[in-house]
Subunit: 454 residues, 2 copies
């Protein structure tokens, strides 16, 4: 293994349990609450999610068995390879070792199918016939279309309009897997119609798309809603990434000094980071970095509050960092990072000082992505480029300090469906964009009157 490029696990070495960080937080997370500030009951969520997933959402067991049928579907692309980015290290002239976990090997090209196959399977088990969901850049929508086709239920995806228009190929992917993709806001829901009436040319937002999907789900007893990030059970399903990575690093006798993931809703970050945060709580020295775009600085600039996951306030109030549920971010190319909130578990980790958030502008991210593609070959998704940019910063700091350092990043997906962003970058059409203070203040005003986490 001396000169390895990537570390593979055999299929029988794939983890058979998910890791639940909720068992190990030094202080427990505040519960989701209603508008009255009272914790919500499982029954209140029943029109939206199947009960088996609601139980998982509230579970505090440290380890959760992965059902055999889900393991079977995960084996289509898992265990995913962990790469040592030797060419990138060399190009940077750094003493740091950079490892990246390639989640782009899934059929949909990202980490999203890790939770999609699980959610589709649990819904099918519960007797559900149809799933509704939202998608930003299209990663989650295509992952869920793929998963629903595998388990044999149908799938409708509300896709944020700006992405729907800019990313026709994602729509075609969903269609190829039998998914139905609708631009959001749409005429199919009351929420969509209301927003279109107010602003017919709105680019849409994840918050709006979530409202539409939930509205459809609650009106149809055979339909439920599936969310690709934010919720505890989604974080849980993604932990297979970090669990595999721990095994792979152990095979070559490494343990990270720094673990890095990009964070939009939080799922790919959590998937990689949570098993290492478990180690950290148990006493290991490891830094955990969550990287977000400057255009959507949820963790770095927004307060920790109770807020809804959607813009129409149909979801319970979740304890999280939030820019306010009416926030509509700039149309940056990293569509998957354009979300007003952040997973409660990730937000809680930041509150407890277990996670260091960072924000990076998109120019530095594209520069990092191109440097990565030139040296490592694979073209990263714009979201993933945030983790790469941060890893390069860490590697350069290691060089300046003349210190070895082991850096692990979650390479959450490939950018083959996002090449227009690269084109715009090469053509000099992109610029950095930091969220203006007054715009943030305005969107935060949507939080007034809501209960506050203790």
């Amino acid at each position: 293994m001396a000169n390895y490029t990537k570390i593979l696990l055999r299929e029988d070495e794939m983890p058979r349990q998910w890791y639940n960080l909720n068992a190990d937080f030094p202080t427990p997370m505040p519960p989701p609450v209603g508008m009255d500030g009272q914790p919500i009951t499982p029954e209140a969520l029943a029109p939206v999610f199947p009960m088996n997933l609601i139980e998982q959402e509230m579970c505090t067991d440290r380890w959760v068995d992965i059902p055999e049928e889900i393991l079977g579907m995960l084996r289509i692309w898992r265990p995913s390879p962990l790469y040592r980015a030797r060419r990138l290290e060399q190009a940077l002239g750094t003493p740091a070792k950079i490892f990246y976990k390639n989640e782009g090997v899934s059929p949909a090209g990202s980490h999203k199918p890790n939770s999609a196959v699980a959610q589709a399977w649990y819904n099918k088990q519960f007797g559900i016939k149809r799933l509704c969901t939202e998608t930003g850049a299209g990663q989650w929508g295509s992952a869920l279309s793929f998963a629903c086709k595998l388990v044999g239920i149908s799938c409708r995806v509300f896709m944020v309009r700006i992405s729907f228009d800019q990313k026709p190929f994602r729509q075609m992917m969903m269609r190829t897997w039998g998914g139905e993709c609708v631009a959001s806001p749409s005429e199919l829901t009351e929420t969509g119609r209301r927003i279109l009436a107010e602003n017919p040319s709105t680019p849409g937002s994840l918050g709006i798309a979530i409202s539409e999907a939930i509205e459809q789900a609650v009106q149809d007893p055979e339909c439920r809603y599936a969310l690709g990030s934010v919720l505890n059970h989604v974080m849980l399903h993604q932990t297979i990434i970090g669990l595999e990575t721990q095994k792979q690093l152990a095979q070559v006798g490494e343990y990270p000094d720094v673990v890095i993931g990009c964070a939009g809703g939080g799922s790919n970050f959590a998937g990689m980071a949570f098993p290492f945060i478990g180690d950290k709580i148990a006493g290991k020295q490891v830094r955990i970095l969550a990287i977000e775009p400057e255009a959507c600085p949820t963790l770095t600039r927004a307060p920790y509050v109770y807020d809804t996951g959607d813009c129409a306030m149909m979801t319970p109030l979740l304890p999280m960092h939030s820019l306010g549920h009416t926030f509509v971010p700039e149309p940056i190319h990293a569509g998957g990072l354009r979300y007003h909130g952040m997973a409660p578990m990730v937000s809680h980790g930041v509150q407890l000082g277990l996670i260091e958030p960072q924000s990076i502008g998109q120019m530095e991210c594209y520069q990092a992505a191109v440097q990565f593609a030139h040296n490592e070959g694979f073209i990263p998704a714009p979201e993933t480029s945030h983790a790469i940019a941060s890893a390069i910063r860490e590697a350069q700091r290691a060089k300046e300090e003349g210190q070895e350092r082991t850096i692990v990043l979650n390479w959450s997906g490939h950018g083959l469906m996002d090449l227009t962003g690269y084109q715009a970058y090469f053509d000099g059409k992109l610029a950095d964009y930091a969220l203006p203070e007054e715009m943030m203040a305005r969107s935060l005003s949507a939080l007034e009157g809501l209960p506050k986490p203790a």
Copy 2:
């Protein structure tokens, strides 16, 4: 391993030699010749290719060592996984076992980088600073751009103008890897300028693009030409596919009854099939199927002749099945299978009865591709769908006959850059197209007066 989905090899199990079928053909291939019918000399090829690759082109050693640096680049995505298509088998209700070798895991998404990294490296070794090539659909152009960036030489790709205009995403891939993609015909060459003067709105053709690339290569002593298929050394580089497959099948105690690849210029087919043809020559019972589109029936309907690789007759005459160098195939979506000729080694294998050619219409291929995506998850390239369609035919025949059968197909690439074809299929805009007899007769008339293979 009882319930495996895919069979992986460790990096240190990757083959370290290529297999050369030219060592084992029962009768040797006719040589490439000039217009006078005389075998061409290595020196005659020197302005076009570096001498180390010319030597490889003419080599008859059975095994050729893969240089360490090339192995290092191949390890970015190799060994590639061999999958058992259990869900597809189940959907077909067949007693057959279907295995597919996933060459879509490379950064460029197809088998093409197997030869691209080798060619780029040999050129660099020979002191070459720039490569020129042509590309139709863009698979080869993107693979070579990726490879040239890795080894550190520059790359110019002449892309057939109609594809250049219709497939902007392939251009963006090349650009992201630092390749320069030029619409052909271009103002950069005499050939291009002449053709543009005659017809400024020409859509271009692969023949014109090859002529432009060769013209540039021969005029610049630091530049050479690289071809993504057809030639012996390209077939050689691709044999790592079949060699890995043999090891992987041995791990689960299997040997194929049928080996299937799609065939355009022949490189992915040869890569999978040649090691098994070696076995067949040594006495193994195995059927080898080469699948081509009905729109471009080179092996199934065209004669075995001497013909040039380009339409301007700048290349030597190669002994091959050919529809005539002026043949312009229908614009089917499997762009990589639209070539008038076929690799001399593949053509020779058909002549010797070692390979069974088949042609399949594009509707059956798209149907097979969608069935594959719905069951196995991965979305195949339109080219690859030809191999899948044939494998499904074999599996259905096994069912009718009530017989077990082990089928291995080369899954040459993913279709994420070719989703417009799926869109057209779903929209009912595609139809079958068999090459009309009189059109074939017309294109074959270009062969009149050329020498014939003995």
